[in-house]
Amino acid sequence: MLAYTLRRLWQFIPTLGGVVLLVFFVFNFVGGDPAYLLAGKIPNPETIANIRKQLGVDEPYAVQLWIFVKQILSGDFGASWSTNERVSTIFATRLGPSLTVLIPLLMISTILGMAAAMLVAYVRGSLTDRAVMVACTVAQSVSILVYILVFQYVFAYQLGWFPVQGWGVAFMDNLLRYSVLAIIVGVAVSLAPDIRLYRTFFLDEINQDYVRTARAKGMSETRIMWVHVLRNAAIPIVTNILLQLPGLLAGSFLIERFFGIPGIGREVILAVERSDFPIIKAVTVYVAIATMVVNLAADLLYKAIDPRVQLK
């Protein structure tokens, strides 16, 4: 397993190199010139030239690329071009709010999704199964924006159960007051695709020989489902959850924007709007590294969950 882990870590280098080149290319040739945004209402060529010099975007591309590589190696991506805030501070302060929403969201949607998926897989072909699948298809085809607008209107405005938006200082206040509606929206959005996906995983397992054998031996249905089927279906489910994580962190911008949560996703969108390359660079590199690490972790977890799995 150690040799496997080291080999996979070694493979990170070319993958990350590809990401770096891609980000660098996209920003420099498609991303727009930040100097014009920062130069204000009446920029003159001299101001533009000074801003470009201060930002270092007047350097040859090779030099800029080398600076980017050094930043990755040192973990110091400098400061935001728009706000002068250190990128490390941005991550340190925005990660907490994002995780305050995402961790409960992921836990609740996974538990509910697995329970519902197991239930409908168990009664496959029944009216319940079909009804749930139709409902999931409908729910999945509705945009996240609709969920946000409707839930915010009904639960926050009409019923007044939650604040429309906001974020406080205390963790518990944020978790129990400001995050709840955002978590409900997140769960509502992710539940339908999760149920459909997990159902197929459970169905694969239910049709296996070992389930038939267990039934023939007189094992209870509860034990078959909760111990044997769940354990075997857990491998693809864990993979799915782990692979969602990095993307969720940066991709939760809609929820964060509508509910006023000062998280990473919202910061990424702001950075894109402002052509704030230091933040874009850092997010892209961190998400790439996180994805690779999570992939590796998922593979190692397979082995832990199912000892029959061979890592090669």
Binding site: P43, P45, N50, K53, Q54, T83, W167, G260
Partner: protein
């Protein structure tokens, strides 16, 4: 309930009630995230609100005077030399900065040196100030000082600048290279606020997160892009609400309730960044915010067609303050012969080119823009200087009407004939394509459709070029956009701020049409030497007619700002130039309605 519990309840009530009664916190929103609060570095609209609340400028504005009028700020009104080149400011004594560790436990008084230092900071290359243009070429010796730094020399804040003198602790003398009537406006602009050198040096690159000023509020808590909490500055110099309401009935009501109050009358301001209109609108309706004025998209929900608040909101005591923003939106034609490397068939001053531009202008239905895109919350702009700005002429009527039939006739007359595909060609038979630049946003898509509808009616082929906003800005400043919608909001309430947009030497800066007309420029140069008044207004009229004759722009609209307020808000009216009116209002804990 036992005795102990009762005692505890009474005790809690006794502690909580006075606190609640004293706690007058104004809750408002920003539509976009701020970028920071270092005055010279600010480059967004919303951060300017906080600057105004936290810092002091040399001059300020009368809250109720319309058009807006400059009054004393941290300094008395300046003494101006006979040649108009020397301004002497006397800083008010006893104004102190809010406490900060950078002052090492001592009270720090505001001095003339702070203002001189703050002006120099615009030219420090490290600050990348987007507002350096405010002083460029204006103050004796400052440009040379800046040029030395740009050439690589250390930016020496201690070396003297001839045009920035502080003969004593409270006197600032500014010597100009030539008379400049805009200087008082510039010095009332929040980016010219005074900062303390110790604070800037202590926080360095982090200065945007550590605003320390002498204004009515100080920054109490700050979560970037999310929450900005300001508290009333206990050491504020003791301004008293005293403004002349004139004949305006609404201003009279405000004056009745506010006259004589010590400012700031509120204890603080809590600003939430809410980008989404739905969130802001629901939050306001739920009473989570006190003032909301960025609700154009949902205006029909609360406004009647004749521009009044719907009865259900009136019954709830919601108040409205309705003003026209000091801005214009317009569509400009690039007047350079080539756009990039491509010949520009819409440029030039020949009769047929002017006719072509005029036909395009006459095909665009501005009333539809106001009705569909603005949801009725805008007024047609007839004159380049909007309402609320000195030089505006409410009687002026544009000479460019909406008339597609006449536009077609004009094109026929100048030999822009339709080809077999139904689209017109140039008189020499070449293809005629109007390249229109816009960003890939929902709002711009609406403009695209409206523009296309107008051009289809006169048979001109439209090609829409989409790009991101920064790239669009870059192309615009390099005169590489053929046609584009643009907007300009007043930096200060003087017509010059708008008329300079077509001044030839401002090409590559603010003159996006890259328009160079000797006749226009001659009048503009002359207007710069005149005080506001009939003679300058006459020149502005002539310049506007020149612009219309050449059809460089066609003016579209000025948006209406509907500021909704909860019943407890007292004394609020949107000032045309001031960003944050928080200093001048109060919150009534028991509103009557």
């Amino acid at each position: 309930m036992n005795t102990a519990a009762r005692c505890l309840f009474v005790l809690l009530l006794a502690v909580a009630l006075p606190a609640a009664a004293q706690n007058k916190i104004l809750h408002i929103t920003f539509q976009a995230a701020e970028t920071g609060f270092d005055p010279v570095r600010v480059h967004d609209y919303y951060s300017g609100h906080v600057l105004e609340a936290v810092y002091d400028t040399l001059l300020s504005y009368d809250y109720l005077a319309r058009p807006a009028k400059v009054v004393a700020g941290a300094a008395a009104m300046p003494e101006i030399s006979a040649d108009g080149k020397t301004y002497t400011f006397r800083i008010k004594k006893g104004i102190t900065f809010t406490d900060d560790p950078a002052f090492k436990g001592k009270k720090r008084e505001l001095t003339a040196q702070d203002f001189a230092y703050s002006i120099r900071r615009f030219f420090d290359p490290k600050n990348r100030s987007p507002y350096a243009f405010l002083f460029t070429g204006k103050i004796v010796g400052l440009d040379e000082f800046s040029a030395r730094a740009k050439a690589g020399a250390k930016f020496d804040y201690d070396s003297p600048v001839a045009g920035l003198q502080t003969p004593d602790r409270y006197t600032l003398v500014i010597r100009l290279t030539q008379p400049d009537r805009d200087l008082p406006y510039v010095l009332a602009f929040p980016v010219t606020s005074a900062v303390a050198r110790e604070v800037i040096e202590a926080y360095g690159e982090e200065s945007p997160s550590h605003p320390v000023g002498t204004g009515p509020f100080y920054l109490k808590r700050y979560v970037r892009s999310s929450k900005i909490v300001l508290a009333a500055n206990p050491g504020y110099r003791g301004k008293v609400w005293d403004f002349d309401p004139g004949d305006n009935p609404r201003f009279k009501q405000i004056a009745e309730r506010m006259q004589g109050k010590r400012l700031p009358a509120i204890d603080g301001v809590e600003i939430s960044i809410m980008e989404e209109t739905q969130s802001r609108w629901l939050a306001f309706q739920r009473g989570e915010t006190d003032i909301e004025y960025q609700l154009w998209e949902v205006a029909p929900t609360f406004m009647t067609d004749d521009g009044r608040l719907k009865p259900e909101f009136v019954r709830r005591g919601i108040q409205i303050d309705r003003t026209v923003d000091p801005e214009i939106t317009y569509l400009y034609f690039n007047m350079q012969d080539k756009v990039g490397d491509t010949p520009n068939p819409f440029a030039g001053f020949t009769k047929e080119r002017i006719a072509l531009r005029r036909a395009v202008a006459m095909s665009y239905n501005i009333d539809d823009q106001i009705r569909i895109i603005r949801k009725g919350q805008a007024v047609r702009a007839q004159y380049p200087i909007p309402p609320g700005v000195v030089g505006h002429d409410p009687k002026y009527v544009s000479s460019i009407p909406y008339d597609p039939r006449a536009a077609n006739a004009l094109l026929e007359r100048y030999s822009y004939k339709k080809g077999p595909d139904g689209y017109r060609r140039q008189p020499n038979g070449d293809a005629l394509v109007l390249r229109y630049y816009s960003t890939p946003t929902e709002r711009d898509r609406q403009f695209d459709e409206l523009f296309k509808r107008g051009l289809d009616a006169i048979g001109i082929r439209l090609e829409i070029v989409k790009d991101r906003f920064p790239e669009m800005l870059k192309m615009e400043k390099q005169c590489r956009t053929m046609v584009r919608h643009a907007a300009w909001i007043a930096d200060w309430p003087d017509g010059d701020n708008f008329m300079q947009l077509l001044y030839g030497p401002n090409t590559y800066e603010s003159n996006n049409a890259c328009y160079k007309s000797p006749e226009y420029d001659k009048r503009y140069t002359r207007s710069r030497t005149l005080p506001p008044g009939p003679e300058r207004d006459r020149l502005y009229h002539e310049m506007t007619r020149i612009m219309e004759t050449d059809t460089v722009w066609f003016l579209a609209d000025s948006r209406i700002r509907n500021a909704l307020q909860q019943p407890n808000v007292v004394g609020f009216t949107k000032h045309p130039v001031l960003h944050a009116e928080w200093l001048y209002l109060d919150l009534d804990p028991k509103p009557q309605y």
